[in-house]
């Protein structure tokens, strides 16, 4: 079959070709393997996150080493530029030499950490590489567990996340250590402390600036509001001068809005300002931090589980799923899954797909549908099995209608 899929059915040249009488049956292996390729393309986060971590370590190590080396060099210069007694010169040089020794150790340690992280990146590439049509069931099981660990980490269920990853042997494939970094900040924010969040912002300053993040500004605003809440107005003003004014150029409206809390005070009944003093503001900060954190590491904003569940539920959702006698094999027969699927759209079908009521097997050209005189349809195989058992008699399982095997007619579904 050499029909270019792009021009299929669109141009006269293709139409001139004799059209195949039946839809070409897709060879299972090739469609399965292309499906696998497509599903691997969904794994961006798996490779991206450890790499961002690795990159961050490399950059940080580099910066600090560079700084140290140049400070040693400039100290040498200092020594050269001034008249020192021999003793002083010797003792300074000696201390520089021992500083270099320390630097060597640091380089070694840094490089060990880098290598470990590189190994982790490599393990993930290898894991993607290991997927093939033969082991896909097992691979998908692992994938589900990865997705669950991701969900638990994002929801801060750390203990269970570690347990699940250890017991399933997937520690290299999940990002527990990275989320621990986030946990510190989140815990502090929950205790209403911004210091570690601010330190995190400083740590990732360049990248946050590039993505025009205003997380730091929001943290500062909250600190300001806390000062107002404590009636420390003078301090609040000093704080604002120091930390809020730099944001004036870009966020003047918000700045003005929040600064007016000085006038309203924490006891205000004005809804706009009352809201600023609500304790929920801290939850908002936690949420915003999580968003920035995910963005920085190249993660999706939502837990992977939600994305996969939503897509899966939508693809599975048919009007039949919500009927009384829905087969228990359909996940949407489950109350909890129905609840989740309720607001989602129905799937769309372009081709008929018929499932035999008796055997639950697909009715296709291999096992075509046959019609009883009462209009009920079952698969050829299931009807033959029934006829063999009952001396040629067919009994419709849904209506009780009885007929002979010879009364059946084949239906053609295109």
């Amino acid at each position: 079959m050499e029909i270019d899929p792009v021009t299929n059915g669109n141009t006269d040249t293709v139409m001139a070709e004799p059209a195949p009488a039946m839809a070409p049956s897709r060879p299972v292996p090739s469609s399965r393997s292309s499906q696998l390729t497509e599903s691997i393309k969904l794994e961006h986060q798996l490779l991206r996150v450890p790499f961002e971590h690795y990159k961050k370590t490399i950059r940080a190590n580099h910066r600090s080493l560079e700084k140290e080396v140049s400070s040693v060099v400039s100290s040498v210069g200092d020594l050269a530029d001034n008249d020192w007694s021999k003793d002083v010169a010797v003792s300074r040089l000696t201390s520089l030499v021992s500083r270099l020794q320390g630097l060597k150790r640091k380089l070694e340690e840094g490089s060990n950490v880098e290598n470990l992280q590189a190994q982790r990146c490599r393990a993930r590439i290898d894991h993607l590489d290991s997927a093939d049509v033969e082991n896909i069931t097992e691979w998908n099981n692992t994938k589900l567990k990865r997705i669950l660990v991701d969900y638990m980490l994002r929801m801060s269920y750390f203990e269970t996340a570690s347990k699940l990853s250890e017991s399933s042997n997937i520690s290299d494939l999940v990002d527990i250590d990275i989320f621990r970094e986030a946990k510190k900040v989140i815990d502090a924010l929950k205790r209403r402390e911004v210091a570690s969040a601010l330190a995190w912002c400083a740590d990732n300053k360049t990248r946050l600036k590039k993505s025009k993040s205003k997380l730091e500004f929001q943290l500062r605003l909250q600190e300001f509001i806390e000062l107002v809440r404590a009636d420390s107005y003078k301090q609040a003003i000093l704080y604002a001068r120091k930390h809020l004014t730099p944001w004036g150029a870009t966020h003047m409206n918000e700045l003005q809005h929040v600064l007016a809390t000085l006038a309203f005070k924490s006891t205000t009944e004005c809804p706009k300002y009352k809201a600023l003093f609500e304790p929920q503001q801290w939850d908002v900060l936690v949420h915003q931090f999580k968003q920035e954190f995910c963005k920085l590491y190249g993660m999706t904003m939502e837990p992977l589980l939600n994305i996969y569940l939503q897509a899966g539920l939508t693809a599975l959702k048919t009007p039949y799923s919500f009927e009384e006698g829905c087969t228990k094999e359909d996940p949407l027969s489950q109350e909890s899954f129905r609840k989740l699927a309720l607001p989602l759209p129905y799937s769309k079908q372009e081709h008929s797909k018929l499932v035999c009521y008796i055997s639950k097997e697909l009715m296709d050209t291999e096992n075509p549908p046959q019609v009883l005189p009462n209009g009920y349809v079952y698969s050829t195989k299931a009807l033959k099995e029934m006829a063999d058992k009952n001396k040629g008699e067919i009994k419709c399982p849904r209506t009780g209608f009885v007929c002979n095997h010879t009364d059946l007619v084949k239906a053609y579904i295109s």
Binding site: L65, E329, S347
Partner: protein, 385 residues
């Protein structure tokens, strides 16, 4: 999947990182050697000729230029390139196909996860999960899954009693579900007895009592095999029937038991509903993402509020739980108001299409769109799939 370009790009990063390490190491090494040298000259030189300034100025001259710059530049290029390769080769943001206005109820999702963990037999993890979520209400299915895993664990220790008991007390339901679990378990037991006992009599007695009842067309062959295997009972490993004692048959039976247990007792799918849905999601996401990428630039589809997906997602056979009939002419999905109708030639269309073809009954016959038959409308009849 061709991961070569990703691997290559990553290799480059690692190489440059190693290079940068070596270079940094070299520089520190050199610097400390130079300083050592300077130090020993200083210490040995007699005070009058002592001129530390010129010596150190030489040292400094060697290092004024930042010699790390070149390697660092190369490393930086590799570091920037790799994420770009990833973005090109993979779907950089799978949440593009996500409807942000739909928020899942966390409580429901957590219950689903707990249920999944229990079903997999990870009771500790499930308990720890519920404790961490702060969800006080215990997962209602835990107890049943404990029962199920006791049976399966016993089977792993080659103890069939609990499994046989369960199957016996659910015999009718199993038959209705067309499951051959009972027969499978009895044949495993039969082979065990044949292996353990001195003569075959005991095994034959067991089979007469428990297996003979299954002798219908589908399992007759299986029973014949079981009996023939008695001829080799002492060394069945080297017989034509060695596959009868392969561990995979035990796994098979255990799997079937799990399926039936979940299905009959708990009304759950034979595979975990969570894993079915996520796997279906894995198949659906590429299609949805492709659709989003194609349409995002041209026309804005209101993805967030559609009633039905704008694109068809063809899931694999195992996800087909319902009969869906799509009229080949109108492309509309059949419904109660618009049921499928079979024409006298056996081809099937939707009622509305047939009405249209017959000009709402004005014509008493029309030509089938798929074959030369002249279709008599009075002979079209509704189908039930």
């Amino acid at each position: 999947m061709e991961l070569k370009s990703i691997k290559d790009a990553f290799d480059r990063v690692v190489n440059k990182q190693k290079l940068s390490y070596t270079k940094t190491h070299e520089i520190i090494q050199m610097l400390s050697q130079e300083l050592d040298k300077a130090l020993s000259i200083l210490q040995e030189a007699p005070p009058p000729q002592f001129d530390h300034r010129s010596i150190l100025a030489d040292v400094k001259k060697t290092f004024v230029e930042n010699q790390l710059e070149v390697t660092e530049k190369e490393l930086n290029v590799a570091l920037t390139k790799y994420p770009k390769v990833l973005e090109k080769q993979l779907n950089s943001d799978i949440s593009k196909a996500y409807r942000h206005n739909v928020e899942f109820d966390t409580h429901v999702v957590n219950q689903i996860i707990a249920n999944f963990l229990y079903r997999q037999g990870m009771f500790d993890i499930g308990d720890s999960f519920l404790a961490e979520t702060g969800d006080e209400s215990e997962c209602s299915t835990r107890h049943s899954f404990v029962g199920m895993h006791q049976i399966v664990d016993a089977m792993e220790k080659r103890d069939l009693k609990p499994a046989l008991n369960w199957a016996a007390s659910n015999s009718e339901k199993l038959k209705q579900a067309r499951s051959d679990l009972e027969m499978k378990l009895h044949s495993l037991r039969f082979l065990e007895i044949a292996k353990e006992s001195q003569n075959s009599q005991e095994a034959i007695n067991y089979a007469r009592k428990h297996i003979a009842g299954y002798a219908d067309s589908s399992s007759l062959y299986e029973i014949q095999k079981l009996f023939c295997s008695l001829l080799w009972s002492k060394n069945i490993e080297h017989s034509p029937y060695s596959e009868l004692i392969s561990p995979s048959r035990w796994d098979h039976a255990a799997r079937e038991l799990t399926r039936q247990y979940c299905n009959l007792l708990l009304g759950e799918p034979s595979e975990s509903a969570l894993s079915i849905t996520v796997t279906a999601g894995t198949e659906a996401l590429p299609v949805l993402l492709k659709y989003m990428n194609v349409t995002a630039s041209s026309k804005k589809v209101d993805w967030q509020s559609v009633e039905q997906l704008p694109v068809a997602v063809e899931l694999s056979e195992e996800f087909q739980f319902h009969s869906v009939f799509v009229c080949p002419v109108s492309k509309e999905q059949a419904s109660d108001e618009n049921p499928p109708m079979m024409m006298s030639c056996g081809h099937v269309l939707c009622k509305q299409t047939i009405n249209k073809m017959s000009k709402n009954g004005a014509k008493s016959s029309f030509k089938c769109p798929y074959c030369p038959t002249d279709v008599d409308i009075s002979r079209c009849r509704q189908l039930h799939f």
